[in-house]
Point group: C2
Chain length 181, copies 2
């Protein structure tokens, strides 16, 4: 019995958390998909602009209007956001799954298009804004929180917004994709 | 013309952001409703335990599992979470709108029930856990970020989870309530 306790009992480190329950529960949190637009501090051309898909977004304040976005610690997007201290957040609508899909991988960047999709430079931040998408925010970084979290928490003030049309957002549930757990 | 420019033009401070567009866009972010369970550092009775409704929740890390919750700066819940450094997050299912409703206002607390709903004390944190709800996380606070945001960002590690049944979460869309914009 002692040997058994030694292998399976308290003497051995036990998992801190029920992994299956943790995964299922964290996947109950609803998320949408967004194209986060970023740039170098002093972009010399389209190669210094970037857009990629993020999901872990939440409002953080009404007055002033602020949001948090969790960005992968190793992501190119985070490196740019830390350098320029600005970003855009472009809202995809439920019909734009195929648009999102193109921004998971490498894509062609020109002065006016990313992956074939027209973009402009946001008036307040200079970050990519996609007129084809229903809405966008422009944001200025206030704080980047990097503790043991594998995604940096970027706390940012909303400095401009454009809402082109009412739209159902593209959610994880809608796509069948999962990024949580 | 000068007078007109003075009143409406650049000489006067202009709104930093298009208010209507900002509100509509921020309301496109999907949210669920949760009962956040909290306690004083050394609770002497049910009056030192608390549960209330929060919405601004996002995952912040896979490894280790972490989340952020934005909590009103003046809320009793935040005061308790800052004191005890722990909380629980109880997931409501789509059928539990009436449960959520009870936790917006003051309610009766006994040793075993809040507002008539049975609770237990979480094994890892001692915070209220509601067996009637489909799932819960227990969390330890890592950081509280309070800049000019009117809700504190509470970054926390998930130290335990219980998933009782599959359930569609109670979302803002489901309730018709709004807490964003």
């Amino acid at each position: 019995m002692w040997g058994r306790r030694n292998r399976f009992g308290r003497a051995r480190a036990r998992p801190v958390v029920d992994e299956a329950a943790k995964k299922k529960t964290l996947r109950m949190v609803p998320y949408a998909l967004y194209l986060l637009g970023a740039r170098r501090a002093e972009p010399a051309g389209p190669q210094d602009l970037h857009a990629y898909v993020v999901s872990w977004v939440s409002q953080a304040s009404f007055k002033p209007p602020m949001i948090t976005v969790a960005m992968g610690r190793d992501s190119h997007g985070l490196a740019l956001v830390k350098e320029s201290r600005v970003f855009s957040l472009n809202f995809l609508d439920a019909e734009q799954k195929l648009v999102a899909q193109k921004f998971f991988k490498d894509y062609e960047r020109t002065e006016v298009r990313f992956a074939g999709h027209a973009y402009e430079r946001g008036a307040k931040t200079g970050c990519p804004i996609f007129p084809e998408l229903p809405a966008a925010l422009e944001c200025e970084v206030v704080e980047v929180v990097e503790k043991e979290n594998d995604h940096a928490i970027v706390l940012a003030r909303v400095v401009d917004a454009v809402h082109r049309r009412d739209a159902r957002p593209l959610t994880h549930a809608e796509t069948g994709w999962t990024y949580a757990g």
